[in-house]
Symmetry: D2
Subunit: 389 residues, 4 copies
Amino acid sequence: MMNRKLRMGMVGGGTDAFIGAIHRLAALMDNQIELVCGCFSVNPEISKESGRQYFLPEDRVYETYQEMFEKETQLPEGERMDFVSIVTPNFVHFAPAMMALDNGFNVVLDKPITFTLDEALKLKDKIEETGLTFALTHTYSGYPAVKQAKQMIAEGRLGKIRKVFVEYPQGWLSSKVEDAGNAQASWRTDPKRSGKAGCMGDIGTHAHHLAEYIMGLKVTEICADLNVLVPNRLLDDDGAAFMRFENGAMGVLMATQIAAGEENAIRIRVYGEKGGIDWEQMEPNTLKVKWVDQPMQVLRVGTSMDTAVAAHNTRTPGGHPEGYLEAFANIYKNFALTVRAKANGEAPTPEMLDFPGVEDGIRGMQFIDTVVSAGYNDEVKWVKFGEEI
Amino acid sequence: MMNRKLRMGMVGGGTDAFIGAIHRLAALMDNQIELVCGCFSVNPEISKESGRQYFLPEDRVYETYQEMFEKETQLPEGERMDFVSIVTPNFVHFAPAMMALDNGFNVVLDKPITFTLDEALKLKDKIEETGLTFALTHTYSGYPAVKQAKQMIAEGRLGKIRKVFVEYPQGWLSSKVEDAGNAQASWRTDPKRSGKAGCMGDIGTHAHHLAEYIMGLKVTEICADLNVLVPNRLLDDDGAAFMRFENGAMGVLMATQIAAGEENAIRIRVYGEKGGIDWEQMEPNTLKVKWVDQPMQVLRVGTSMDTAVAAHNTRTPGGHPEGYLEAFANIYKNFALTVRAKANGEAPTPEMLDFPGVEDGIRGMQFIDTVVSAGYNDEVKWVKFGEEI
Amino acid sequence: MMNRKLRMGMVGGGTDAFIGAIHRLAALMDNQIELVCGCFSVNPEISKESGRQYFLPEDRVYETYQEMFEKETQLPEGERMDFVSIVTPNFVHFAPAMMALDNGFNVVLDKPITFTLDEALKLKDKIEETGLTFALTHTYSGYPAVKQAKQMIAEGRLGKIRKVFVEYPQGWLSSKVEDAGNAQASWRTDPKRSGKAGCMGDIGTHAHHLAEYIMGLKVTEICADLNVLVPNRLLDDDGAAFMRFENGAMGVLMATQIAAGEENAIRIRVYGEKGGIDWEQMEPNTLKVKWVDQPMQVLRVGTSMDTAVAAHNTRTPGGHPEGYLEAFANIYKNFALTVRAKANGEAPTPEMLDFPGVEDGIRGMQFIDTVVSAGYNDEVKWVKFGEEI
Amino acid sequence: MMNRKLRMGMVGGGTDAFIGAIHRLAALMDNQIELVCGCFSVNPEISKESGRQYFLPEDRVYETYQEMFEKETQLPEGERMDFVSIVTPNFVHFAPAMMALDNGFNVVLDKPITFTLDEALKLKDKIEETGLTFALTHTYSGYPAVKQAKQMIAEGRLGKIRKVFVEYPQGWLSSKVEDAGNAQASWRTDPKRSGKAGCMGDIGTHAHHLAEYIMGLKVTEICADLNVLVPNRLLDDDGAAFMRFENGAMGVLMATQIAAGEENAIRIRVYGEKGGIDWEQMEPNTLKVKWVDQPMQVLRVGTSMDTAVAAHNTRTPGGHPEGYLEAFANIYKNFALTVRAKANGEAPTPEMLDFPGVEDGIRGMQFIDTVVSAGYNDEVKWVKFGEEI
């Protein structure tokens, strides 16, 4: 019986990084996981100092991820890490993830999954080959209100789904901050580190994932319009797409990082024959449900969400707001429950398995390929999802 | 000196109609206009009964608009109407408007201006030929907060404009109510009475007009996606468009009438280099202004709107909400002020002239032509504004 | 048969006044009333100029209200006014109202009804004696959402009512604007023109009226705390009260005019055993209904309000916001329907009679007396409603 | 140098408890604290099972808190706990807290601090005598937006403070759930376990604390109205108070647990001469700042909050909402930083020391005494804060 906390290692996530801190908060809050080792930076000094601040023994702070996997493998089972969180820029996702799996470690990976679709497909093969557990941190599907919405739609409460609007406006790239020393902006706007898409890869993928997750439907075709609206930027910083879904539903996706003054305003509205749902991430505990034939209802996390899956992913009673970190933590919690169940020879329940995985990562890479194919040129076309033209 | 109320006649607007009642409320509230005559319905009984309920003498209630124009012309100047409001379905706009102008009456016309672009162009010639005053009731640009936003952008407070999102979700056509006796739905979904577009003509034109009005920029190209999402409907009930503007700004327009549970949620967000504005018609007295480098401001009608044009179009102090009827009334008020100024040999001020006119109507017809050309086929294309393909 | 518009005269409401303009807008929009005469100011020049701007003939603009009542009485029935709107400061309410009634004119009176309770009681006797129709413009009970709430409570949908919070924060008196030439502030803070209460008379009475109207319950006892928070002001500019209701329900009322930055934020929340309602005047078309055992519902004017009384007081379909002027107009509309019905020998329906009258005015005066008795001294006490101590 | 995580023990907080889970989440998320031992329930089976679920070794799960303090004291310094979190009902606060201090352990205590004021005063003496660190979990002052508001007021940005409205409506006691097996309701409505006040002790104290914290001002006098609105309840379930502050500012406090349909809607509005702030806990990342002479500003956590103290208590960038658990965690984080600084012989910074302590607890007990004295009788009076009558 695995009757202990899971042991986490990290690649990336030094004291100078943003998303690594989020991963630690999310991993630790539920008392299911402890941080035991890491290679926190390509800069060994930063890595060491980070290890100190995270209260790790010096011999569990490594200079390279290769060293980490090698040395951790040699530790006795009762000490070595169970899984690694990889929180590096996009172009350093594939190699450490493959090596982790090859060495028998489960993996949590920040999105987008890899630099190219091809890498993602290889990763999928490796995951299947090893039987290890893999999570991709598409945070927004971790919110209980989102899970409530997905379940309501799956149960047919809104009738046949016809339409989705998913939007993701941000404003932080509305000037050329990548030239002013913003490290986040620097790699995200650089094709060599970010990949073939900018805004669409960074946040468009979140919007696409959220839509498919909530609707329970796949996009089949996309017509897009990608723009560079801040002069001399190399990758798209703004875009929109028309989307066709497998059941005939239509969608509009907007993602932009030049909406000056916006924070992180991802929102989704889905309409069926009987009604619609409306969820805004910046007020995440509220799910508006609009009906053709009765007043709008305001469902609230912890109070009036009526699905088991929402309850499973909620920590506080109604009116005690949960937020982004708790949504993030739901991915870690369910990942940990799954790893523990498998370690104990039990089948993980559907609720445990409800976290994004490699298939979601592959669809994300295909989304990037498709919008880029469909949207960077004057000859706009409907492009079949996953096909480049 | 014209020192009296303007005298209004009506074509349409019987007791069984929707928009006619709105026109009367809007026209009368400011004590600038009185209703003196009308031909309120093609059904003479309804027309007569309507006249009674509007407290008109029997001899000023006519059976046809032709009769009305003829008889009113014969009345002495001190009695006959000054202008006519035409509030009939789209296919009965052009003929009465032309006849009114030919008989020397100023005209207020519900939108869209005509059934075809060609009619709209002829109407423009007639207006120029006669020198009469013409207003088109694109209501949403009548709101003081919208005028404040337009003025702020014109003054460059947001910097160069880069992006607009304009959306107009409604839900009232989410089932096939035109088959269940809904008169509004019946003519609006019928190509013979509504024209070549459904949703895009009915509400997409409002969204397009609002965007161009606020931004002070013209659309130059459109790529669209129009859909029929309720089976067996003859005209689009849903759609979206990518838009390019003359200054290089990009836009996304969404309009749908099948968003089950939505009321009349037209909203516009415009972003420039320095910040953005956000206005929602269903909370019309609030204008959110978001900034790159300072907290969001919430401008309020009657309190913190700082432009003369907003003040000119406001009746109440802050916190005493104005609404749709007051926005509508602003069109009538400014129209009346313009007619009176011209009657008195004075030049109308820019504030008086700030109501939609024939040019807006023509752009609306061109918008319909363009989105229909760009959006009803699988071979999506960028279409130059006003060009059919 | 009275088959014509009602003819309105005005006392007060010159071009330099605030509330008079509101009354005209409200009276005129529904095409039920026309303005025929007035004595618009104590300053005859302002009165004359006002008459010109309101397009009245010179001989219907009077120098004094005494002259107006006298001369109008002498006009033939087909010309003379039917009712008078009195929109002067509080201390000029009683005399013109009495004289109007004595001369056979119906009366609309701005609130608070009179300067003293004694005057209000005399007015009541006069109204009963003459059988004329009298309306008091407590605007906030004119909103359709408020009427919906009242009806829902009357039907017992919330169960037994236990609690009310009614609040009315304004900020316009947060500095001593009465010393800086603000005419509104000048008389409202002057005991000689406003009466024995400032804030509590001006807006506390609105809050009290709204609570009793919605709850359908009378206040029986009050314990209050009135304050002068801007130094050297002569009347209360801030206050609060605990209230006991006839059924045992408890209430808290807050009214302040020194809440810096607030506009006109009257809000009421009422809770019963099964749920509660929440209405905010600055978003007046929304009524939140909260339930113990199901999700909150958002009822919307024109869409999901399900009572006949809400429909009777609504002009536009859902999503076309109505506002303060329409609420005000509901008082005038129902007053006019009542006057016409009585003129035609018909019994006014309950919906026609649903406007505030002399009893509401008397309760307002009693409220002022009670809070002043209970709240201006250090020896706070529960005071029986209507009793001075 | 204490270069390790702080070691936490718990009294209470078994798997069947509510607030204990919150404490653990809050304590653990920042990677500053680890749970090492506990006595989680008076029921030894629950305590043991809880220990297993929290992954503790069996020998660190105790049957009584007395045993825990005794045995932990005997452990070597490198193993034994550093502090204890006491999360039991009110009547089991004082004894374990005193014993913990006597045994040299720092203490985190849930509010209200003790059962009686006398106990609280004794606790204060003990804390001063031992020099240990003590935190009281008044969660709501842990929010970064609250700290921003406090700092803005301290800097005089709103001018002299005149008025506060603080309200705390809940609905969970709107029926007699204590008779239906609700354990939370059972002890909170029982004078023997909760103390002399119900609603005012449970949530009124939060409201009072929040007001004094944000305003930086002490209440000097209170006039209150406490009610039992659900029949046969033994303690107040509803109440309100007028409050006078040391600088002459006035306040209104409302707290109720019978507002059917409400969740946990604590809200505070403070007004000064120049403007006001408005904060609602259920949307905690937004601070509205209203001004006399400029548009309302909406300050946002992570984006436009401009104080160092807000930044110190924020984990995520703007638009990634933080919530209740993060506010709670701020108390633990600052407590841990203080304990560590003191262990290392350093003076804690003011930011570290910014968590509620014994003085806040004493004021809470005095608040309860005062409102109960002032509000349970018909002879309402102004009672000096801390005085019983």
